[in-house]
């Protein structure tokens, strides 16, 4: 058992190392000649020499595996460099935006998973009925609607109600807030400043709604389908025949069987939501990894892009590993 966790973690670590190597090759080796840029795009008679010099400085004259090894060791030691686009140390930029994105994703998933379960159960209990059909159409529609459009509509709606949905926090508050964890909802509660909390909450809800659409409805659809089948599973019929109440059968017998797969679906859609968050963050003008990545790309900020890629991959590896471990915990039949 314990050795399984060790193995899974080792696998995660080796995945991250492999990812770093691939990122290095993709970003530094593939497009153009970074030494040319590093040397200040030189021209004239001494250009060749200057580029050679730059190559030595960047280590590009070394064999590829040494370059990768150097890159990884430097990266793991925390030497991430300075962002060209934001003129700040990359760690600062990435972690601030990363916290914002995690806040957004966590918030929307905390609601999307139970809501998806509830909606799916509701539909399964009324399968074949009119409510079920209506919800089925609604879920297909919501999943297919382009998220940027949905985001724009929400911006509009919130403006009409007089609430301010853009940004992460009112500029006034962003000076006042004491950063403890970097997650504004928590920080404002710890301080405690209820007005800041409410402001952060109001600005968090619309983007979270957009992000939640995908996990919510994909979980609901799965639960509806899987639960309807589970009602005919031998062990459920057996429980019915033993006179166990409907409520207990639904929760501990039928619904219990769908949970491992729901965790798996949530884990996989988290990956998708990470990408979606980029669009949402730009429309709502929020800080976030997606937004940083787009700006970095537009200004050829290579070190920043590498760092963002790394943090994103790291998150995904962690989420996937966690999903597998939870899966193991939830379904006793999963072999290790």
């Amino acid at each position: 058992m314990a050795s399984y966790y060790v193995r899974r973690t080792l696998l995660g670590v080796s995945l991250i190392l492999g990812l770093l190597a691939i990122i290095y090759v993709l970003v530094y080796v593939a497009p153009g000649n970074p030494a040319y840029v590093w040397a200040g795009k030189p021209r004239g008679p001494r250009a060749v020499e200057a580029i050679k010099q730059a190559e030595r400085e960047l280590g590009l004259d070394q064999p590829l595996y040494i370059q990768i090894a150097q890159f990884i060791t430097r990266f793991l030691a925390g030497e991430w460099g300075v962002s060209i686009a934001f003129k700040q140390p990359i760690q600062v930029v990435v972690f601030r935006s990363f916290k914002a994105t995690v806040e957004l994703l966590t918030f929307s998933y905390v609601f999307a998973i139970p809501l998806g379960l509830a909606l799916g159960t509701f539909m399964a209990l009324r399968r074949g009925g009119r409510v079920d059909l209506l919800l089925k159409i609604a879920s297909s529609t919501f999943i297919s609607i382009p998220r940027f459009w949905l985001a724009l509509i929400l911006v509009l709606v919130f403006y009409l109600t007089g609430l301010q949905p853009l940004g992460r926090l009112d500029p006034r508050y962003s000076v006042e807030i004491k950063e403890i964890t970097g997650f504004y909802l928590l920080d404002s509660l710890f301080t405690p400043r209820l007005d800041i909390f409410l402001d952060a909450l109001v600005r968090l809800i619309p983007p979270a709604l957009v992000v939640a659409v995908y996990p919510l409805f994909s979980i609901a659809r799965y639960v509806r389908y899987s639960l309807s089948e589970r009602f005919y599973e031998d062990y459920v019929i057996e429980a019915i025949s033993l006179g166990i109440s409907r409520r207990v059968i639904l929760a501990r017998y039928a619904l219990r069987g769908t949970i491992p797969a729901v965790v798996q679906i949530a884990g996989m859609s988290f990956v998708y939501s990470f990408v979606e968050a980029a669009v949402v963050e730009i429309i709502f003008m929020r800080e976030g990894v997606g937004r940083v990545l787009v700006e970095g790309l537009l200004r050829s900020d290579y070190p920043l892009i590498v760092a963002v890629f790394f943090v994103a991959s790291l998150t995904l590896v962690i989420v996937n590993t966690a999903t597998d471990l939870i899966q193991k915990k939830l379904d006793p039949r999963v072999r290790i």
Binding site: S3, Y4, V6, R7, L10
Partner: protein, 313 residues
């Protein structure tokens, strides 16, 4: 002369060992689990050889090994004196053509979108027969398994389970195999259909004269079909002999319980098997405390009669 030809084995399984390794950790040693531990038998002429064992005894693994889905770690499997474990893939494929296979669940054994006619024709097509020859052969095949001719245009789900099992049998014998492998052919069927299939298999054997290996957990079914049989438990042969001898005079205590079970007598379940002791040790009512802790050898008692029990050493 004739007797010699009949006695010559078509299939000879010699000291087969099959192991599965379970990896339990990155650094810890791999655990080996033996599915078969030195199983040997031979089947000759038009003989039916039965293998009886509970689930987990390794009986399905044995058939898989004969068909080449599982490769044994040692031993040999000879078909017409050719060791199929030592030949190249092409030769092996040709040898495997000499075998027919009938599985437990006929629903899983056929493509649900194929018509019955096409299902039966499949192996004939693979053997390179022309469409004309196949259409000529098909009615005889369908009739030989006692099905009405109009089933050829039906789809599998339109047939009952028993009829479908007949289709699977027709397919297995289509290419006139030398050996028919029967993996629990009646276990999924109710008693009425079961009896029909048993009677049919008997008739077909007399008609076509193939050798067959019949694997089942049901000694009753095996005793009706097999000429000789072996009792398998935890990958070990516990007893071997002609069906008549084994039923009339079961030697191993486990075999006695099996024979009792046909009459629905009360026998206890065997669920704790220590791989280091005699597999029946924990449940044997005749055990001798210290001696039976070791695995007994397969003791030969006369021609074609073997038993693995310390009582007979």
């Amino acid at each position: 002369m004739l007797e010699e030809a009949l006695a010559k084995p078509v299939l000879r399984v010699c000291d087969i060992w099959v192991e599965y390794s379970l990896s339990s950790g990155l650094l810890s040693k791999k655990k080996k689990i033996y599915a078969l531990r030195g199983v040997s038998f031979d089947v000759s002429g038009s003989e039916v050889f039965g293998i009886v064992g509970a689930s987990g005894s390794g009986k399905s693994t044995l058939l898989k090994a004969i068909m080449g889905f599982v490769s044994p770690s040692s031993g040999s499997i000879e078909i017409d004196d050719v060791d199929i474990l030592k030949v190249d893939r092409e030769t092996r494929k040709n040898i495997l053509r000499k075998m027919g296979y009938v599985s437990q669940n006929p629903l899983a054994a056929v493509n649900p979108r194929f018509k019955v006619g096409d299902i039966v024709a499949e192996p004939l097509k693979a053997a390179g027969l022309s469409r004309k020859e196949i259409t000529k052969m098909l009615p005889t095949l369908i009739e030989s398994v006692d099905l009405p001719l109009d089933v050829v245009d039906l789809l599998p789900h339109e047939l009952s389970l028993g009829m479908l099992q007949r289709v699977v049998i027709a397919r297995a014998i289509a290419t006139k195999p030398r050996i028919l492998l029967l993996d629990e052919p009646t276990s999924a069927l109710d008693t009425v259909t079961q009896s029909h299939i048993v009677v049919l298999l008997k008739e077909l054997k007399d008609l076509f004269g193939f050798a067959s290996v019949l694997v089942s957990h049901d000694l009753k079914v095996v005793s009706h079909l097999a000429d000789r049989l072996a009792i398998l438990m935890a990958g070990l042969v516990l007893e071997e002999g002609t069906t008549y001898d084994v039923l009339r005079n079961p030697l191993h205590p486990y075999t006695r319980e099996l024979v009792d079970s046909i009459k629905l007598k009360e026998v206890k379940e065997v669920f704790t098997i220590d791989p280091r002791t005699c597999p029946f040790y924990a449940h044997c009512y005749l055990r001798l405390e210290d001696r039976c802790r070791r695995i007994p050898p397969l003791i030969e008692l006369g021609r074609r009669r073997k038993v693995r029990c310390w009582l007979y050493s």
